[in-house]
């Protein structure tokens, strides 16, 4: 239990930021997909740049993690189809309801019944993929 507290706190910060930045807002997502505001693009680009620089820094320092493991960044499995098709299907859902998985958890925390319905749907979708995955190109 105790060793999971850092993850709990990091998650708490993440949920707080998602709501405060309004990345968990359907309105902001529609605005983004219609290129009407730089806000969401600014969030994504600055997050990626910050991640990129700090990951290079960690690699350069070659430090271990706080629990003594050698830090390594796992490579995503090779392929193309699963990423494009999966991304498309997820994007279709995201564009409709304006919530990706992080904001879904954050909004469930605010007590939104609607967000809870999205979470229930997402769990069923995940299960459906698990049951049918052999039938789809990867």
């Amino acid at each position: 239990m105790r060793r999971y507290i850092p993850y709990l706190l990091a998650g708490l910060a993440f949920g707080f930021i998602l709501v405060k930045s309004e990345a968990a807002s359907w309105y902001r997502i529609q605005e983004m997909f219609h290129f009407q505001n730089f806000h969401m693009f600014g969030i994504m680009f600055s997050a990626i740049v910050t991640g990129l620089i700090s990951v290079q820094f960690i690699k350069y320092l070659g430090r271990r993690s706080l629990d003594g493991q050698e830090i390594e960044i796992p490579a995503k499995p090779p392929g193309r189809k699963s990423y494009i098709y999966g991304g498309l299907i997820f994007g279709l859902g995201w564009g409709l309801i304006g919530l990706c998985p992080g904001p879904v958890f954050a909004l469930v925390g605010t007590g939104s019944i609607g967000a809870l319905a999205v979470l229930a749907g997402a769990l069923h979708g995940t299960w459906l993929y698990g049951a049918l995955k052999e039938k789809f190109p990867h």
Partner: protein
């Protein structure tokens, strides 16, 4: 102190929020050599609840190794509660005039202090059915692609992975299609 409280209630600009989100990637690596990503938890939740007689191979693994990740999303929910309820921002989302006009052309009222429109998220049977169905797409798609906005767009791109470039292109194309065609068609 008052400034801090005010700041906690206000919406944050992208140049504050974006870098903070980006720092999740090194933070997870430094805490315990973990990859930042949210949608994997949907799989873990399926693995935890799968009844023995259902037996889908994809959910047969030791989910306990991913307990850290479940704590992370519990934290995300708590963070959402703190930011959205305890330190709620009373002002409506400040959309650009263009976005506001678009909302009105879709028959949505201007934002009124909540992040999500009541027209779509108020718990009516029609809304909940719609949200559930779109949620199925989100769950299916993220697992098919092996990640969502956090795992691919943020972790994947900031660790320079080609797979994530494909995924992000797919995600953005799907979102454009949905936001330009399906939203006006289905929600108007």
């Amino acid at each position: 102190m008052d400034t801090l409280i005010t700041w906690l209630h206000e919406p944050w600009p992208w140049y504050v929020a974006g870098p903070m989100i980006g720092l999740m990637v090194p933070l997870m690596l430094v805490i315990g050599n973990r990859s930042f990503g949210i949608s994997n938890n949907l799989r873990h939740l399926c693995a935890i609840t799968q009844p023995r007689h259902v037996d889908v191979d994809f959910f047969k693994y030791d989910w306990k190794e991913h307990t850290w990740s479940l704590y992370f999303v519990i934290g995300t929910g708590l963070g959402g509660f703190l930011a959205g309820v305890v330190f709620a921002d009373p002002d409506p989302v400040a959309l650009t005039p263009a976005a506001l006009a678009m909302m009105q052309s879709w028959g949505f009222t201007a934002p009124g202090g909540t992040l999500i429109p009541p027209e779509l998220f108020a718990p009516t049977v029609r809304n909940l059915t719609f949200l559930f169905t779109a949620g199925v797409l989100v769950g299916f798609g993220t697992r098919y692609a092996g990640g969502c906005t956090s795992g691919h767009a943020i972790t994947g791109l900031s660790t320079l992975q080609l797979a994530s470039v494909y995924a992000v292109l797919g995600i953005f194309a799907g979102g454009l299609l949905s936001s330009w065609l399906l939203v006006p068609l289905l929600l108007q």
